[in-house]
Symmetry: C2
Subunit: 481 residues, 2 copies
């Protein structure tokens, strides 16, 4: 009998791509094993993973207050022991008690409401209100295992067939192309303008929407990633208002990926949520369908392994909301530690709390160091021959453009690989630095980029810069032609 083969599995799975953990990472893992088995076998002594926004894998320490509360909620029976006073801060103990009181039966090991524990959603809603200055409803919140499952849930809801399209920025975070492929829809690209710092032009949105329509595509939603991934730009308020008007006029669901909302590094830019923008324009429930995604994996906390996050959905009919609830309920609920962490992220210690000063110091240390690292890497990249790099106003990435010589492009063709993947592989083999080729994020045809995180430890940045610079010089000497 025939069994399951690569030719008989779901072709949508075959079509899906996710470069952030693709071929380059597999090579890097082999090199790492190599270095362990045969130290000195390569011209570097460690692999530097700049491929993924995973801060704690690069030695960023967790925020103490958050971990104190999580530990106490995991093992509440120590809460009233005297030794606990010596080990945990007063407000962490208080917060753990508060959170446990909000959980029915204090049962941190039980499935919760499918949208997440009501009391934690209350705390998150308060945090959103404090952030935006507009009301937020805990019943609009769906807590999820990181932001990715929330994105999948919305794609599953919106996509009926390949005739349904989702407008996505190019370059984009490949979760979007992967999720659209898995759900059998069509990605409708709109290009960010590299010349103007990855600007988002409404005329481009209109052009691409009309092109898609004339191809018979029913465009259902617009994805905006702000701050941008992989591009690092922070949208201006006026631009955001135009985007809202566009979605309202065209009847598109606005899918706002706002997971980097706390990662802004430049004084001339500020994060504004699309919820705040729509409400400040006077638009409410009936005017626009808006989904905002948030995650505990990013920000200054970077708790990727905890898989916490939420989406806030507004402007959907009760019948559609019921369907979203049903989708959530099939998977029962997201993990409770992630739920607790999402509530902490949105309602951190306040002035006067015992942990406030140490919490603020930890936060400030991470964010200011990220800003310095972004600047240093960006300066280094811009000093390389044929490389231009927009600044990382926010998020965790730089996305430099490399003008590759013809000879390099030809060599890549011979190696049957994309030119930027060719560059990234040589870079990895020469330096141990792992970046993701721009082709994994899509880009203007004929241009080449790579994504590099700003996350390596600050003391390692000079070495990275010199290794990268040395490699690039040699590469250009070889291929300048």
């Amino acid at each position: 009998m025939d069994s399951i083969t690569i030719d008989t599995i779901n072709p949508k799975v075959l079509k899906c791509e996710y470069a952030v953990r693709g071929e380059i990472v597999t090579i890097a893992q082999k090199l790492q094993q190599d270095l362990k088995d045969n130290p000195g076998s390569h011209p570097f002594d460690e692999i530097l993973y700049c491929n993924i926004g995973n801060p704690q894998s690069l030695a960023q320490q967790p925020i103490t207050f958050f971990r104190e509360v999580l530990a106490l909620c995991d093992h509440p029976s120590i809460l009233d022991k005297s030794e606990t006073q010596g080990l945990f801060s007063v407000d962490a103990i208080e917060r753990a008690f508060q959170i446990l009181d909000q959980i029915p039966g204090r049962a941190t090991g039980a499935y919760s409401h499918s949208q997440g524990i009501k009391g934690l959603r209350d705390a998150i809603a308060s945090g959103i209100e404090a952030r935006d200055g507009f009301p937020a409803d805990p019943n609009d919140l769906f807590l999820t295992d990181g932001a990715s499952p929330a994105v999948h849930m919305m794609m599953q809801l919106l996509i009926r067939s390949e005739n349904d399209g989702i407008l996505c920025p190019i370059p984009q975070y490949p979760l979007y192309s992967a999720s659209i492929a898995l759900h059998g829809g069509t990605l409708v690209p709109y290009y960010l303008d590299e010349q103007t710092g990855w600007g988002l032009e409404i005329s481009e949105l209109e052009h691409q929407l009309n092109t898609a329509k004339s191809n018979g595509i029913d465009v259902r939603a617009l994805v905006v990633i702000n701050p941008g991934n992989p591009t690092g730009q922070v949208l201006g308020e006026a631009n955001q208002r135009e985007i809202v008007e566009f979605c309202k006029k065209e009847g598109l669901v606005l899918l706002a990926d706002e997971v980097y909302q706390e990662n802004v590094y430049v004084p001339d830019k500020k994060f504004h949520s699309f919820k705040k923008i729509t409400r400040s324009m006077g638009y409410g429930e009936k005017d626009i369908s808006l989904v905002s995604f948030q995650s505990v994996s990013k920000g200054f906390y970077g708790e990727c392994g905890k898989r916490g996050g939420y989406m806030e959905i507004t402007g959907f009919s009760p019948e559609v909301r019921e369907q979203i609830y049903k989708l959530a309920s099939v998977n029962l609920c997201s993990n409770i530690s992630g739920q607790i962490l999402a509530s902490l992220v949105m309602s951190p210690p306040k002035v006067g709390d015992e942990s406030y000063e140490s919490f603020s110091a930890e936060k400030e240390a991470v964010l200011s160091s990220l800003a310095r690292r972004a600047q240093a890497l960006q300066d280094a990249l811009n000093s390389l021959e044929g490389v231009t790099c927009n600044r990382a106003e926010g998020a965790m990435y730089l996305f430099p453009r490399i003008n590759l010589p013809d000879k390099a492009i030809k060599a890549a063709e011979e190696a049957k690989t994309a030119p930027d993947a060719f560059y990234a592989k040589l870079l990895l083999n020469a330096t141990g630095i792992v970046v993701v080729p721009g082709s994994g994020f899509r880009q203007v045809p004929g241009t080449w980029h790579f994504r590099c995180t700003i996350l390596p430890q600050e003391e390692k940045i000079p070495a990275i810069v010199s290794r990268l610079t040395e490699f690039h010089k040699k590469f250009m000497d070889e291929f300048r032609g």
Copy 2:
């Protein structure tokens, strides 16, 4: 412009049903709020949730050792403080150190390998080997946020269109029907035989497979739930061998839901994994494609809120495995606390460890109490007029059959509801007991059942029995005709 309405969302979402958190539960939540707002407004003073296998929501306490380790891994900086010695057991501290050593950079807040942390997979593989007496490979393990995402992943891989079928037991756990509907496939039912204690007959499998084939369905996999949900039966070894032969002969992937593997309550039955059965028959990688699902939500630990679990996949080609890996990588990884807990569940304290005795006592107390509760509820149900109930040999549920009088069926018709949903609603309104109508699990047409967990606290069982008995008498008096 048109926006998103119930008529324009993905029809597969509309088609999907998940009764475990369906209408009855919504009514129950309203009643609970009612009781809070107006105490004494109903003929009961609490809602008893017997609808879902969620032990800790019904006051089951977590296993101490597991929670100690989780707390220490959440906040490792207390590991070497002197107060910690007074609060945590020696072996929990040791285990936490071991686990941290297995995590690259000791970073419990980092995304892990997409299959899960290698060291934890090693521990799980050893646990599987100890359970089965056959080798297990950590590279065959995919750690997931509970078993549900693993089931979805396999359905996503296997289902290409509505012409692809998955053989599922009827009655079935509605995750399967929901997942098949969401992925656009066809559920091919095979009926368990209630007369023989929910027996699984190969002739029935063959009959249904052939019927499906003659309808143009390409049947790709067979789901077996052992111990059974909602039916509670534990398969015999000879029967399991027949099932393996059937899958091998027909080229079907065997999807073995083994999440209740530690929940067996009768001395004459024992759990055997399908992995062990296939290997003991001499079949290896090349003979059969097998997926085994396990979860931290069930067993004696019942850690539903932690969302931990894994699937062990064997008998897939490297190319297909690569596609499964890609699917896992799109969501980056499952939550690390759930991963740690999955490793603890599969490698608990051993003889000689400080926690061994208290751990064993906690385990034994839960399992023996569950056995007593199952027996008491089953006896009570069997004593009711027109009700027959197979024993719960395993899992967490009873699935009694109710022979409803014609008058009740007519009344249900008038109320536009299924007869067993009609019964369940009246039961809820009269007693506060929440059960799931059999129609949510599917059943032989014309028969009526409900699923009731065996999880309420043992001291509450007598009251439940008397409320249920009293309700049922009145119901029959009203509808006996």
